[in-house]
Amino acid sequence: MRNAIAAGLIAFAAPAAAETTVGLLLPASGNYAALGQDIEDGFRMAITEAARDDIRILREDTEAKPQAGLTRARKLIMQDQADVLVGVVSSAVLGAVRDVVHQAQVPLIVANAGNSDATGKDCSPYITRVSFSNDQLNRPMGEWMAAQRIGSVFTLAPDYAAGQQMIGAFSEAFTAGGGEVVGGDFTPFGKTEDFGPYLAKAQASGAEALYVFYGGADAISFVKQYDSFGLREKLPLYSVGFLTAPLYLRAQGEAAEGVIGALHYLPSLDTAENDSFVESYALEHDGNLPSEYVVAGYDAGRLLLGALETGAEGRAELAAALPKVAYTGPRGPLEIDPATNNIVQNVYVFETVSRDGEMTHQLLDTVEAVRDAPNGCEMG
């Protein structure tokens, strides 16, 4: 009798299914607020599609500040007892939270920050990246441009970790392919709005082409200013594709025509997976196209769902299961490299073209299954 009561109590007390708590570590204010919103939309889209109600989503605002990111990460880990963290937009914030995540042994699915070190010399079994690394996008672009027999470039990027890593990876690959970087500048980050002085320098450098990395408001200003100086014929513009990403394309308009870039996702990719993804996103968002940030959030969600389907539960099991998930999604085949926990994916080289009065991306080339070298990563 007593045993029966005990058994009944245990059955009653045990929850039907363990709930998984997800902490979204995304900017809701500051420069990157729009990116944070896109990632959250994508993540929720994946969870909604799977119709799971055992996933609790908490959200904390990191702004674009390492200190804020660190405080919020600590709160999610210690106070909210999150099983898994998703997010981080800024590379600087990722640098700041890396040790906390690693020491607390909480899995973090990185859904944007490209900081190459996070899956290089600072890699961790608890950090899995489904977005891209700065190296991963720029190296294929350097090789591709050298193969197009472009002899010399002038480079421009904002003066912070991401800008330096992107231009560094590009220059290395471009030079190795036989090209020459004749000059370049890093512009003061967050202070430069007028690129006129730098565009005049690029023009005077005698380079055949211009290679840049800019994002956010800078991306819009840069492309418009490049166009207004009439440089299109003299100095073709190449970039890592964030410059003319869908988020900015409407504001840039015709000024973006002819810009060539490389990205891990394009809304115009012609695959069954992407078609249905674009359709269901557009239905919810006034016919807008999903950005690469939406896709990163979505893939973070699919990765988590994949790990949960294996029966993984809690921090340690999830951390082990996440990197083993592979699937073909909107951006194409996706797997995680066990050597670094960084995503292995296609990189798409595209040209921004005007079609029926709308700006869109035309695919020029696909570099398949781009994988980062370990870059000093020793998975413990």
């Binding site: 204010s29 420069n31 607020a33 729009a34 919103q37 003066d159 500048d185 890093f186 512009t187 003061p188 967050g190 202070k191 430069t192 709005e193 007028d194 006129g196 002085p197 730098y198 005049a200 320098k201 023009q203 005077a204 956010g216 408001a217 819009i220 200003s221 418009k224 200013q225 207004s228 100086f229 009439g230 988020l247 900015y248 504001a251 840039q252 308009g253």
Partner: protein, 288 residues
Amino acid sequence: MAAFWLLQLLNTLQYAALLFLISAGLSVSFGLMGFANLAHGALYMLGAYLGISVAAKAGFWVALIASPLIVGLTGAALHLGLLRRIAGKGPMPQVLVSFGLVFIAVELVRIVWGDVPLTLAAPEALSGTVRILGVPYPAYRVFVILTGAAVAILLWLIVHRTGIGAALRAAVENPDMARAIGIDTGRLFLGVFTLGAALAGLGGVVAVPIVSASTSMAMTALIPALIVTVIGGMGSVTGAMLGAVIVAVIEVFGAALWPDASAVLIYLALAAALIWRPQGLLASGAKS
């Protein structure tokens, strides 16, 4: 190579013109009322966003007039409703209240216009490039230079050639004496504050076809504008002109010649000004 230097000279003039529009109002209200109005950058941001909205309905040229008018009226309302009450209370409440206004303005802009940066196309007549001494230069940037120059000349004429200007100079020089001889300094302050806000609004709408509008504008404009005011001297239109040209020369040629240091050069200039001429090159009181 001559083309390169000519381009950089034009870039300097264009940047100076924009800086002058933003700084003139800040400098004069600083000098006149001793009021450190940190919300000035927010007025510039507001000018840009209002410009985008008005231009979408009525075109660029209407926006060019309407946006500064609305921002000017907003400035007047702020002055009457809030800032006037703390004008005599020393710098700390002024800084706190006006800086608080920046945060409020930024959040309001985010609610109304969203987080994605917006932009405004230059009007048809000003798109494309014009040749200056054989060097192609964006027509719109030439327009910015001319707008800045026109406003500078107009302000100089008002300050130095009209009765209101004379009253203004007197009030900057010695407000108590000015009041004693019957100058209504309260009304004068309101007028100056409104005009300064309108100029910041004009700066915003003029800037936005070049730089895109985002909420970070409120801060990115404020800092150089404060530096212009410190270097040029408070309360003087000529000082704001001189300060704007100096800051533009340092920023543009710094970027061209010594890019690694370009982020700090301007602060070095600021430090130098504070050490050797803390009142500014052409402060009120100095002959301007």
